[in-house]
């Protein structure tokens, strides 16, 4: 989370860069959960 003071100002470039950073981080987290669920069951051989 970046400092609130710069948010929704008219500096669109900064805004977009910050948004992209948070968005990519969240997408990576979701993907990691998805992969972990499957790998975890795969290596345990169904236990």
């Amino acid at each position: 989370m970046s400092a609130n003071a710069v948010e929704n100002t008219n500096d669109l470039d900064t805004q977009r860069r910050n948004n992209r950073r948070v968005g990519i981080l969240l997408a990576l987290f979701a993907s990691a959960v998805f992969v972990t669920v499957i790998i975890r069951q795969w290596v345990s051989g169904g236990a």
Partner: protein
């Protein structure tokens, strides 16, 4: 506070092109729109259509159950109806309804011009109709739709036909849509609040959605993983859940409910958020206990990941496991109790009036408390072993889902409708909608507690004759409740066509940035961040 005004040339370079005029004309405009208000509207209409489709399926169920014996449908079709009813209501109606509210209200509440990722927002919505077509279309393929119940338990889900694959694919698509929607909501809330709108001054609806979006991002991939493994078990020779190959069907239940219990709060938390706006507005007081409300929401969200096996008391988990999951589940009553206490205290010595939004919010409060109470009953292992898979459970979760989520969605819809359309709705009709809904709801679902206590199993199209009377009453209630919902359609259509113009703030007790905007809200709002003053803050106190 007001930032310097230098964006305009800046923005016109790449995506500023849709920033200064409205939607493209006709149908194409709806396909291509990136405006949060358009997308919110589409989510809300989509969810209402799905609500009617899922509702029609529930009437097939209640029609069949009106009397013992088999009357109208085969047992196989009955199973498909109850499966699709649940999947459509959960993923097609309730969740998109609250995402619709989020799209409409969150940017306006935090003083942002739109959602953080406007084009991804468009994609999130347009993934939904294909998923809906897959689910309903699966009824027409050989073997019909999935008949496993929404829990999709193996071994049945490993054995069923093409309809099951379509359901799995639909769940994948819906999951992607939810995850993208959540990424959008979190980023909007964390990054795009107007200066001065600190997290702890944020309206409660935004708080509930912030926690909900994290729950979604953490839990939807788990469901996606579970159904992916189902898919590979079905078609690619793996044996995650297939006992014939050394797999474990109970493993699926663990994974499913690790998603499934947080899902309950994914539905309930935004409902709490809406009610936390409506009750203060019609009590003409600030929300009592803002800080404790925020912590309660976070606590509920966190604990919801550690209680999943209360759905699995009879699967042979160890006694210590049963005890742990019982106590952990009972623990959720504490933050939930804090919230109910705060809502009641908000009303205490308030100047109460009972317009339709307030009626639905109070309906929510009463009925959700009933559903929460039966949830505590079911959390107790020794009791649950008796009541597992009976109508008591069906009654319990309909009090939570219908009364909890649907009633608060109506509270929100009536509350914000004047802001959206710029006109007041027909208050008398709204009240008729509320009273028919709450009476018929209880006629439909209260007797199901008795049926369950007497031992009537769920998910069966036929039953022993001693259950006849309560089933007949329940079916009459269900049909009454179903047709009462058409009153809402009438109210909305009437409101779109005309009606008395709504003032900027039709509810004198309402607080928050959205009530500083004209009614109807202009297509673009807060392109320059607003200056936050004390009186705007729904949160203050």
């Amino acid at each position: 506070m007001q930032a310097s005004h230098d964006t305009h040339d800046h923005a016109h370079g790449d995506h500023g092109d849709h920033a200064h005029h409205g939607r493209a004309p006709g149908l194409m405009g709806w396909f291509t729109t990136t405006n949060h208000k358009d997308i919110g509207t589409m989510y809300l209409w989509f969810s209402f259509v799905m609500f009617l489709v899922g509702g029609a399926m529930s009437l097939v169920i209640r029609g069949e159950l009106f009397a013992p014996g088999l009357q109208y449908v085969s047992p196989e079709f009955y199973n498909q109806m109850l499966t699709l009813h649940a999947l459509i209501m959960v993923f097609g109606a309730i969740m998109p309804a609250f995402v619709g509210f989020a799209n409409w209200m969150i940017p306006m509440m935090v003083g942002a011009p739109d959602m953080a990722f406007a084009r991804m927002n468009n994609w999130s919505f347009w993934l939904l109709p294909p998923a809906a077509i897959l689910l309903t279309g699966s009824l027409f393929v050989p073997g019909g739709a999935a008949g496993t119940g929404w829990t999709l338990y193996p071994p049945l889900s490993v054995q069923m036909g093409l309809g099951m694959d379509m359901a799995i694919f639909a769940v994948h698509i819906l999951g992607m849509s939810s995850i993208m929607g959540s990424i959008n909501i979190i980023t909007t809330i964390l990054n795009m609040r107007a200066p001065g709108m600190t997290l702890m001054r944020m309206p409660m609806f935004c708080w509930t959605w912030l926690v909900t979006a994290f729950l979604l991002i953490a839990s939807m991939p788990i469901l996606a993983g579970a159904v992916t493994m189902l898919l590979t078990d079905r078609h690619f020779g793996t044996s995650f859940f297939n006992a014939a190959g050394g797999g474990d069907p109970v493993l699926f239940q663990h994974i499913f409910w690790f998603f499934g219990h947080p899902e309950v709060y994914i539905i309930a938390l935004p409902a709490f958020g809406v009610v936390s706006h409506v009750i203060p507005a019609f009590s003409r007081k600030h929300l009592f206990g803002y800080t404790s409300m925020v912590y309660a929401i976070a606590a509920i969200g966190l604990i919801s990941f550690f209680v999943w096996a209360h759905h699995m008391y009879v699967t042979g988990i160890p006694l210590t496991g049963q005890l742990y999951f019982m106590y952990a589940t009972l623990l959720i009553a504490v933050p939930t109790g804090v919230k109910v206490f705060n809502w009641i205290t908000t009303m205490w010595r308030g100047e109460l009036t009972f317009e339709t939004p307030m009626l639905f919010a109070l309906g929510f409060l009463f009925l959700f408390t009933v559903g929460g109470l039966t949830g505590l009953v079911l959390a107790i292992t020794a009791v649950d072993i008796q009541l597992q898979d009976t109508y008591y459970v069906v009654a319990h979760f309909h009090y939570v889902m219908v009364a909890g989520a649907l009633f608060s969605a109506y509270a929100g819809a009536y509350f914000w409708l004047p802001k959206w359309t710029g006109r007041m709705y027909d208050e008398a009709l709204g009240k008729v909608h509320f009273w028919t809904s709450i009476v018929f709801f209880n006629v439909a679902f209260f007797p199901q507690h008795f049926l369950g206590l007497a031992g009537m199993p769920r998910r069966i199209p036929d039953y022993a004759t001693q259950f006849t009377d309560f089933n007949a009453v329940s079916s009459i209630g269900a049909f009454g409740f179903g047709f009462s919902q058409l009153i809402f359609l009438w109210v909305v259509l009437k409101n779109i066509k005309g009606g008395e113009a709504a003032p900027v703030k039709p509810w004198d007790g309402a607080t928050g940035l959205e009530w500083t905007l004209p009614s109807p809200v202009p297509y673009h709002t807060f392109e320059d961040p607003p200056v936050i003053t004390e009186e705007h803050l729904a949160a203050a106190h």
